[in-house]
């Protein structure tokens, strides 16, 4: 309540006391700080400025290091600022630059304080206020203080002048119209030979040039001079940055500058400058062969250096080159690949990026193989980094670089078995995506899905659940390509599926439903008329399979015709298995699981009668019932065999809204009803797609093949599992394959062929990196379904602040005059666009992207807008100094601007522009 007494002021704790106390406190840091804050709040209200400023200083300390809010002291800081004593001022400025921001309410009150200090004779006061302005300037401050900054730009005190130069950047940014006032003086400072000033002004221009390089092309001669003459590495680096931006815009400039840069590269001893030269050459001068070669030489020196910093930067530079000169990367591939096993994760990631940059259609298989081997050996973090980049590279542009999808699908399977793999979601998406898009790969996809589903060990890994859900979906959707659907049923209903989360469990059950229907359909509907099925038709649908599998599958075909694996007996067992596995799920707490289980069991009940009957005696009565059941099977089968196609994201928008349907009706009531029901986080992608095309015919006559030919790993796994959980399996006549122990998710024996030392890998990749290698697949790339609207890379939305535009517009006005460096043909469009309403122009200006800056109509309209804008403001201020400046410009302005006359007529008070060359300077030519 009451202010602090004199005693309080006398015995005030200083900042040092506070820090000491904080280090020795016994009551806990937080408690101590809140006590101190309480004191500060009291002290800061004191009328004694010393007490106040000490309190403020303590508050700054707590805010800076202990994250305590100090916005409450904003006004007190202003009070301290008004003190005549320099130490108080210093503290106040410190506090203000730490805590003020655009929405600080008292910001408006500071203008006069700043103005007073900016015009002070004490250079340190001026410096403090400039420093502060560079931190807190907003539009109003920048506008109101522009005249003061303008004056200081030519101050004869270097200490003040360099700060004025540095602050200009912020002022321009906030209030672009100030460019008209200050720009010329800023440019004059470019010719200053004092390194302090030069460093500041070059810094400002390098920031400005980043935003809109084209506007600064006319200043190229000045920059060139600095580049050649500069003794300071700091300045050289900044100038190089400017040229990196300017050179691509003007080939003549690039021609001129490339030699000095190479000279600098050869001569300099400073690594930072050397690296900047290298970076400039590889980003902006990549078409100059000799320069690039020199840069690459330097990059190599970096790459083999002991210092991890240089190595990292070398790799980084390589990745910049990679986009234009891939040969450079190939030349250095040994180092790149060795870096994959560097102790520094950042270096590893950088080299991984490089390796991925080398991937092409021809070597994707080999590189992926090497990387997957690396992934097996690396720590989880990097392993997933590798897998992620393989996945994203391969799926780029709708699997652009993949020719052999069979290989890719099995690679996906392999990747999901890597122990650290956490990319389940991405793999899941790609499985389904490929299934939908690439018809020809489906048989292989089903095989991979089978291998994943059948392995009971995988169910224990929660990262794999997403992959398994995709595998389950694939097995249900494309079951007709399976060699043994019964195996799928067993896999989908195996006891360990209880480890799955409910959302994925639901997919398993739905897939089991599909597989079951398929089995029943083959057994009853088609099985009844086995003889009637034309042999040729069945072969046709399996054509791609038999091509792939060669001779041994034709043998299998011979068998399928004679002995269908699905007999009535096995169906009966299958139905029993379903009942056994699903009846516990009827009481599941998850709605999805429960409902699907019920569906499936209900269906089984319907069918069971017939299945039992047809296996037993045949009576007329049950015969009729059987026909009914067959009808049901056929109906359900038809429903399931409608193919799902990929659907464009925007497809929904194309559906016309039917008459009388109100979509915007308020459903607020619903919320109160369903508010407490948590939506299941299921990913039921398989049910979300509307069916697109009817393709029933190809499904109806499929042959199931005996899987006698198979004797791979997973079969033995299954056999082992069957032995343990025989109860859940169908009795089989085949002799059981004896195999080893319960297998781990990732059998180390499988990775036996991993090369362990890096040199072998280098060799291996070296082979794979040779681009001439022809892919060794005989068949052409399968068709990949694409959706035009969605699969095209989304055009990056260009967002540009209108402020930036107006800034570069203003700069361009100063440098180019009202005439642009536009080709004459485009200039003829000007009058048309000018006639557009002002409002419209305004809109265009805001939407416009930087690329369009060269575009004539819009940019000229923007300029005009700026003119009028600036004019108004100037009118308001009537600052004598500015007027002088304008007059001077007027005098200097040359008369060879054909359009200036017009603009003068349109505007009452035409903006006069300095002559400053409207064409490219002579030295460039």
């Amino acid at each position: 309540m009451s202010g602090p007494s004199l005693m309080d002021s006398l015995f005030q704790r200083t900042l040092e006391d506070l820090i000491k106390g904080l280090r020795q406190q016994l009551i806990g840091e937080q408690a101590f700080i809140s006590k101190a804050l309480e004191e500060i709040r009291k002290e800061i209200k004191s009328t004694d400025l010393s007490t106040k400023s000490t309190a403020l200083l303590k508050l700054c300390y707590l805010s800076n290091l202990h994250f305590h809010d100090m916005s409450f002291a904003a006004f007190h800081a202003l009070e301290v600022l008004s003190s005549p004593r320099f130490p108080h001022k210093k503290i106040a400025y410190h506090a203000i630059s730490l805590s003020f921001h655009d929405s600080t309410p008292v910001l408006l009150l500071i203008t006069n304080h700043l103005r007073k200090d900016l015009t002070s004779t004490n250079e340190f006061e001026v410096s403090l206020s400039l420093q502060c302005l560079s931190r807190i300037a907003n539009v109003d401050l920048a506008r109101d203080l522009t005249p003061e900054v303008f004056t200081l730009l030519s101050s004869n005190k270097l200490y003040v002048r360099k700060r004025a130069v540095a602050v200009v950047l912020r002022v321009f940014e906030k209030y672009p119209d100030s460019v008209r006032v200050c720009f010329k003086r800023l440019v004059e400072n470019l010719e200053n030979y004092d390194p302090q000033i030069l460093s500041a002004v070059v810094g400002v221009f390098s920031e400005l040039a980043c935003k809109d390089p084209r506007s600064y092309l006319p200043l190229a001669p000045e920059f060139y001079k600095i580049l050649v003459d500069s003794k300071s590495n700091w300045i050289s680096i900044k100038v190089l940055k400017i040229f990196a931006k300017l050179a691509p815009l003007e080939p003549r400039l690039a021609n001129r500058v490339v030699e000095p840069i190479c000279d600098l590269m050869r001569k300099t001893g400073a690594k930072s400058l050397l690296f900047e030269c290298v970076r400039t050459v590889v980003t902006s001068f990549s078409e100059y062969e000799s320069a690039v070669r020199l840069a690459v030489e330097k990059i190599r020196e970096f790459l083999v250096d002991e210092d991890p910093n240089l190595k990292y930067l070398g790799l980084h530079a390589l990745s910049i080159v990679a986009s234009k000169h891939l040969w450079v990367v190939s030349e250095n591939k040994e180092v790149v690949i060795k870096s994959l096993s560097d102790p520094d994760p950042n270096i590893k990631i950088e080299s991984l990026r490089l390796v991925m940059a080398m991937v092409s259609e021809h070597n994707v298989a080999e590189i992926s193989k090497v990387l997957v081997n690396y992934a097996l050996k690396s720590d989880p973090l990097f392993c997933n980094e590798i897998l992620g980049s393989i996945l994203s590279t391969c799926s780029r542009n709708v699997y652009e670089i993949i020719v052999d999808f069979d290989w890719y699908v099995s690679l996906l399977g392999e990747m999901s078995r890597i122990p650290h793999c956490q990319m389940g979601e991405e793999i899941e998406n790609q499985f389904i995506d490929i299934g939908l898009r690439v018809k020809d790969v489906r048989p292989e996809l089903v095989r991979v899905a089978r291998d994943l589903l059948i392995d009971p060990a995988l169910l224990g890994n929660s990262f794999l659940h997403r992959v398994l859900s995709a595998a389950a979906w694939v097995s249900g959707e494309y079951v007709e390509f399976s060699r043994n659907p019964l195996e799928f049923m067993e896999a989908l209903l195996q006891p360990r599926t209880s480890l799955l989360p409910p959302s994925i469990m639901a997919i398993y059950i739905q897939s089991a439903f599909k597989v079951l229907v398929f089995c029943l359909h083959t057994c009853f509907v088609r099985g009844g008329s086995t003889a009637g099925v034309p042999a040729s038709a069945s072969y046709e649908s399996f054509d791609d399979l038999s091509v792939e599998n060669g001779a041994d599958s034709t043998v299998a075909h011979g068998q399928t015709c004679t002995s269908a694996p699905i007999t009535n007996e096995s169906i009966v067992n299958l139905l029993k298995l379903v009942e056994l596995a699903l009846s516990p799920l009827l009481g599941s707490h998850d709605v999805e699981v429960q409902e699907r289980a019920r569906n499936l069991l209900g269906f089984v009940d319907l069918i069971k009668l017939e299945a039992l009957n047809s296996s037993g005696q045949e009576e007329n009565d049950s015969e009729r019932k059987g026909v009914e059941a067959t009808k049901i099977i056929r109906l359900v089968h038809d429903a399931f065999s409608k193919e799902l196609g990929p659907v464009s994201l925007t497809a929904q928008g194309k559906v016309p809204v039917p008459d009388g349907l109100t979509l915007n009706e308020n459903l607020g009531d619903l919320e109160t009803i369903c508010g407490d029901i948590e939506l299941p986080s299921s990913n039921t992608f398989s049910f979300g797609y509307p069916s697109e095309e009817k393709d029933v015919s190809s499904f109806s006559n499929l042959q199931i093949k005996e899987d006698s030919g198979q004797s791979n790993e997973s079969t033995s796994l299954l056999a082992e599992h069957r032995k343990r959980h025989g109860l859940y399996y169908l009795p089989s006549g085949k002799s059981e394959v004896i195999s080893n122990d319960y297998p781990p998710a990732n059998d180390p024996a499988l990775q036996g062929d991993n090369n362990d030392n890096a040199s072998d890998l280098v060799k291996l990749t070296a082979e794979s990196l040779v681009p001439k290698r022809k892919p060794n697949h005989s068949k052409p790339r399968p068709v990949v379904v694409k959706l035009d609207e969605v699969d095209e890379k989304p055009v990056a939305v260009k967002q540009l602040e209108s402020r930036d535009d107006s800034l570069s517009g203003a700069v361009r006005d100063i440098l180019f005059g009202s005439e642009d460096i536009l080709p004459t043909s485009s200039r003829s469009n000007l009058p048309n666009s000018n006639r557009k309403g002002k409002k419209k122009q305004h809109m265009i200006t805001q939407v416009e992207s930087k690329e369009n800056v060269v575009d004539d109509g819009n940019s000229s309209s923007r300029r005009r807008k700026d003119h009028s804008h600036g004019k108004e403001r100037r009118h308001r201020k009537k600052n004598a100094e500015e007027r002088n400046e304008t007059d001077r410009k007027e005098k200097e302005s040359s008369s060879n601007h054909p359009r200036r006359h017009k603009s003068r007529q349109r505007a009452e008070e035409p903006l006069k522009v300095p002559p400053q060359t409207s064409v490219i300077p002579d030295f460039l030519l």
């Binding site: 400039l130 940055k241 930072s272």
Partner: protein
């Protein structure tokens, strides 16, 4: 804006100095410093001094128990920033005489002032030790 922020953090991850060249709320600052400290302090001597974080880079260097971390834009020259850090440490060394964590703690305002002499608006304006220190010495004498 080349430099976005400069942090000094001790081995225990406590901030000893924080200078931001763009406005961040306290909560944003706390989160940012937490993330950066976790990321950088875990690295060892054999690893490089550059860390990519969000959409910018952190260039850091360790001197005794103190980490100097500078957040910069992606196209900033990393090696130049390392030199800048070194210059900063040398400057402080010259002023405090073998600078240590405590010097910065107890003279936080002075350290800020030194930084302000060197960096303005995110770009480096002064690289001469004498120029940086002369106003500070003058003020010391005056007070």
């Amino acid at each position: 804006m080349g430099i976005r922020f400069i942090l000094m953090v001790n081995k225990q991850g406590q901030t000893r100095l924080a200078q931001y060249y763009e406005w961040l709320t306290l909560e944003e600052r706390r989160a940012l410093e937490g993330e950066i400290v976790r990321k950088c302090l875990a690295r060892n001597e054999q690893q490089c001094s550059f860390v990519e974080h969000r959409n910018y880079k952190i260039v850091y260097r360790r001197y005794a128990s103190l980490f100097f971390l500078v957040g910069v834009d992606n196209d900033e020259n990393e090696l130049a920033i390392l030199e800048f850090i070194h210059l900063l440490v040398e400057t402080m060394d010259r002023h405090f005489g073998n600078v240590c964590e405590l010097d910065i703690m107890f003279h936080l305002e002075k350290a800020h002032f030194m930084l302000e002499e060197m960096v303005m608006n995110g770009s480096i304006v002064e690289t001469s030790k004498a120029n940086i220190l002369s106003p500070i010495q003058l003020m010391d004498k005056a007070s």
